[in-house]
């Protein structure tokens, strides 16, 4: 179980997250949604340890992990698929998947991760993670790296962005499978993904607005609520 208690996050004197209190239970599927700039990615980065909260604590399975580094959290079982995949000079897809897995894996095994995100695998393994890959390809490789890492708490930041319909179908399946043995947190604007959620968390200007999925979906239907992009 992951708990965020009274989390505040300030950047350049601006309050980006304002007193966030959330509990993520094991093997449940959470969707965080909300308008652009509402603090969703910041919240994910705070969970991953990329940002340090200005105040508040993070408790994981009863331990205070607020001061744990990114590496320590990764080793504890946290994983984060970035909203904007990182470009590298020289690092290949194959290397990235090896690092994600934490050990040398066969090309065949690496391929299975790529095929799960709909990439014709062999062709991609030796490609460098640079601009020569399209946005959608990079996004899928980013997701594959988290599938390979297989974390206990997996966070995906707008995984649907830049992904065509195929892939969307597939993506929802990946999430469904994942929930069986882990906590999955997906930042998304997609109704289909929202519908799969055990719990929907709406962020607005850095505060949690509402966590009742049914109400939220009705609101979306009635267009009362911002869907983001």
């Amino acid at each position: 179980m992951l708990e965020l208690k009274n989390i505040c996050f300030e950047q350049n004197g601006e309050l980006i997250l304002n007193n966030i209190n959330l509990t993520f239970e094991d093997n449940k599927f959470y969707v965080i949604t909300g308008p652009n700039g509402s603090g969703k990615s910041s919240l994910a980065k705070i969970i991953m340890g990329i940002y340090k909260p200005t105040s508040g604590v993070i408790i994981y399975n009863g331990h205070n992990i607020t001061d744990k580094s990114i590496t320590e959290r990764a080793k504890l079982g946290f994983g984060y698929a970035f909203q904007t995949p990182t470009l590298f000079k020289g690092l290949t897809v194959w290397e990235l998947l090896n690092i994600a897995k934490g050990k040398k894996i066969s090309k065949k095994e690496a391929c299975t991760f790529l095929s799960q995100v709909g990439l014709c695998a062999q062709k991609y393994l030796d490609r460098e993670l640079n601009k020569s890959l399209s946005g959608g390809e990079l996004k899928r490789i980013e997701i594959a790296s988290i599938i390979a890492k297989n974390p206990a708490i997996a966070i995906f930041d707008e995984p649907e962005a830049g992904i065509d319909l195929w892939s969307f179908e597939h993506l929802t399946k990946i999430f469904k499978d994942m929930v069986l043995d882990k906590t999955t947190i997906v930042i998304s604007h997609q109704e289909r993904i929202l519908k799969m959620a055990d719990k929907v968390i709406l962020l607005d200007k850095g505060t949690v607005k509402e966590v009742k999925k049914e109400d939220f979906l009705t609101k979306i239907a009635n267009k009362e609520c911002a869907k983001g992009e």
Binding site: M48, I50, S69, I70, T71, R73, A74, K75, F78, G79, Y80, F82, T86, L87, F88, K89, G90, L91, T92, E95, L96, I99, A100, G102, S145, K149
Partner: protein
């Protein structure tokens, strides 16, 4: 040849699919072994070699390594390569210095290439230094290239370790349809210095060159990359200098592109900076420590 010699040779050699057709091994300023073939002749001249590759030679593999194990030697060698029409060869050169003493030890390989029409050359050059002494290890290669119609040359040069001071000069003139590709990789640390100078003249219709330099400067090391590409006619030149600096490392890139014809298309790109924070964060979020992430990023960058 003793164990040190063998290890040095190992460091600067390169496995090829085809067997070696001809070679010349130079140690401490003299030839210690040589082999020639029906197609490839290696003849000694004063202070160097004349290497002749016959027309239409296929899969010619030539190794001409230089090793220096005696501290204080200042070796200069002049090698001329005459590559016949439509020949296809791989040349593996390079120099390894093992310096266990306090004397400055250096090697300068002055290489001239005369590449005939339609010939294809891949030139691999590795530089390496080691040894317990504090005597400097210095390498100053000079490469001059003339490329006739539709010939192709690829140069892969690598200097990964242990060379204190190096100045590399590469000059080439390309005629119609000739293509020159250069991939250069350099890592310097401690107080090492490395300079690399290119002057490429595109003097023929559709001649093209593509130069990629990737370098890493660590500690207090210093690197300089000066490239000059001159386009005299319809041609294409692309220079890419990409460097990572760490600690107090410094890299200076001096680009010059000189278009002398409206249809010359010349590009120079340079990017110098520390390891991108984003790259570190991504690898750390996959479980690497910052140090491990840095190591992977540098290794892959230079691979």
């Amino acid at each position: 040849m003793n164990e040190t010699d063998k290890e040095l040779l190992e460091k600067i050699s390169e496995q090829t699919k085809e067997p070696i057709s001809a070679y010349n091994i130079r140690k401490n300023g003299t030839c210690i072994d040589r082999k020639v073939s029906d197609y490839i002749n290696i003849a000694a001249k004063e202070h160097g070699l004349e290497i002749y590759v016959k027309e239409n030679t296929l899969f010619g593999i030539i190794h001409i390594p230089v090793i220096i194990t005696q501290s204080g030697i200042k070796d200069i060698v002049y090698n001329d390569f005459h590559i016949g029409k439509n020949a296809n060869v791989i040349i593996v050169a390079g120099c390894g210095i093992h310096n266990d003493d306090k004397h400055e030890t250096s090697h300068s390989g002055i290489h001239r290439f005369f590449i005939a029409e339609g010939a294809k050359v891949k030139y691999i050059e590795k530089h390496y230094g080691e040894g317990s002494g504090n005597g400097k290890k210095i390498l100053n290669p000079v490469t001059e290239i003339k490329m006739q119609k539709n010939s192709k040359m690829t140069i892969n040069s690598v200097q990964i370790k242990g060379v204190d001071d190096t100045k590399r000069v590469t000059k080439a003139t390309l005629y119609d349809g000739a293509t020159l590709t250069i991939n250069e990789k350099i890592l310097t640390n401690n107080n090492q210095k490395a300079k690399s100078e290119f002057e490429i003249i595109l003097d023929g219709l559709d001649a093209s060159t593509h130069i990629v330099s990737r370098s890493v400067a660590i500690d207090k090391s210093y690197q300089e990359f000066a490239s000059k590409v001159i386009g005299k006619t319809k041609c294409y030149g692309h220079v890419e200098c990409d460097a990572i600096i760490k600690d107090e490392g410094m890299v200076r890139s001096i680009p010059e592109v000189f278009a002398q014809d409206t249809s010359a298309n010349l590009i120079h790109e340079a990017a110098i900076g520390k390891i991108a924070g984003e790259e570190l964060l991504k690898l750390m979020s996959l479980g690497l420590t910052e140090k491990e992430a840095e190591k992977v990023i540098i290794e892959e960058f230079l691979k």
